[in-house]
């Protein structure tokens, strides 16, 4: 193995940290290299990345007029 090569077990153990952008640069490079060469791990990566993307979509939303009015009034009284 070169310094960028890791096995599937190691790749999967740090997959979520990779998706969450929590890996340091050297381990990020290892993951990128592995995902370019391993179809199985890439499929798993794509699944988890897309699921996270779907979850992120839940967080978007405008506040209702009720809560906006209530908080605006509250702020004016502080």
């Amino acid at each position: 193995m070169t310094k960028h090569e890791i096995d599937c077990e190691r790749a999967l153990s740090q997959l979520f940290e990779f998706i969450d952008r929590e890996l340091p640069d050297d381990r990020r490079a290892e993951m990128q290299h592995h995902l370019h060469t391993c179809k199985s791990c890439f499929s798993r990566f794509e699944f988890e990345r897309r699921l996270k993307e779907r979850l992120r979509g839940l967080g978007k939303g405008e506040p209702s007029s009720d809560i906006s009015d209530r908080i605006t009034k509250l702020l004016s009284r502080l």
Partner: protein, 225 residues
């Protein structure tokens, strides 16, 4: 005071939708969520001297929101779920439930791309329902990481736990969430996993339902058929 009154108001207004969203998912009740946001804003204003700089505002106010939620749980006598668990952290090497792994069982290989098909079919409501089913200590880390895109460090600060605890709790929470999603999908006939094999009258094993049958089962459950 690290920020002016005007900046405080602007920050609150900018974050209001997200604060309300998190509050709804914590309380699972619109009226309680509004109360939680209002109490959070009031507490934040009173504690404004404790804010060190404007850049920390988001994590700071979400920490207040979470603490306010826990205080309210205790006031009502509802013990936060994590307090009842002796050991809630993931053990090293512990394998979490994975939908992807479930869909790559040998008997499913004849599905071309089952995991992508699964993601295409689950709805926002399915995700919301699964998230709401998680215990609070799991729900909050998924909300902060996946919905609000907090870093592990920000989550650690918000929940007042070490970064390692965030990492392990998140792993367990995601496994639990995927297990719930998988069970929901099977209940409504969405997942690619076949029903339990049983013998037909002619002695041959039954085959899994095709996609159209799964869709029909879901439509029936949703009242569309």
């Amino acid at each position: 005071m690290a920020i002016s009154r005007k900046t405080f108001e602007n920050q609150v207004i900018d974050l209001l939708g997200r604060m309300h969203g998190v509050a709804c998912r914590l309380t699972r009740n619109d009226a309680d969520a509004e109360d939680l946001v209002a109490e959070t804003v009031a507490r934040a204003w009173r504690a404004l001297d404790a804010l060190e700089h404007e850049a920390a505002f988001r994590g700071w106010i979400f920490k207040i929101l979470h603490n306010t939620f826990l205080d309210e749980c205790r006031r009502r006598g509802a013990r936060p779920q994590f307090e009842s668990l002796g050991c809630e952290e993931s053990e090293e090497g512990e394998v979490q439930f994975s939908i992807f792994e479930q869909m790559h069982q040998p008997f499913l290989l004849w599905f071309s791309n089952p995991e992508q098909e699964f993601l295409d079919k689950i709805l926002r409501e399915d995700l919301d329902r699964a998230l709401a089913t998680l215990p609070e200590h799991h729900r909050i880390v998924v909300i902060l990481s996946d919905l609000e895109e907090f870093s592990y460090s920000e989550i650690a600060t918000t929940l007042a736990v070490p970064v390692g605890t965030v990492r392990s709790r998140l792993a367990r929470a995601r496994g639990a969430l995927q297990k719930i999603l998988w069970q929901q999908a099977r209940d409504i006939g969405l997942s690619a996993a076949p029903p339990a094999r049983h013998e037909c009258e002619d002695g041959k094993a039954d085959t899994p339902r095709p996609a159209t049958a799964r869709q029909a089962a879901r439509a029936k459950k949703d009242g569309n058929l």
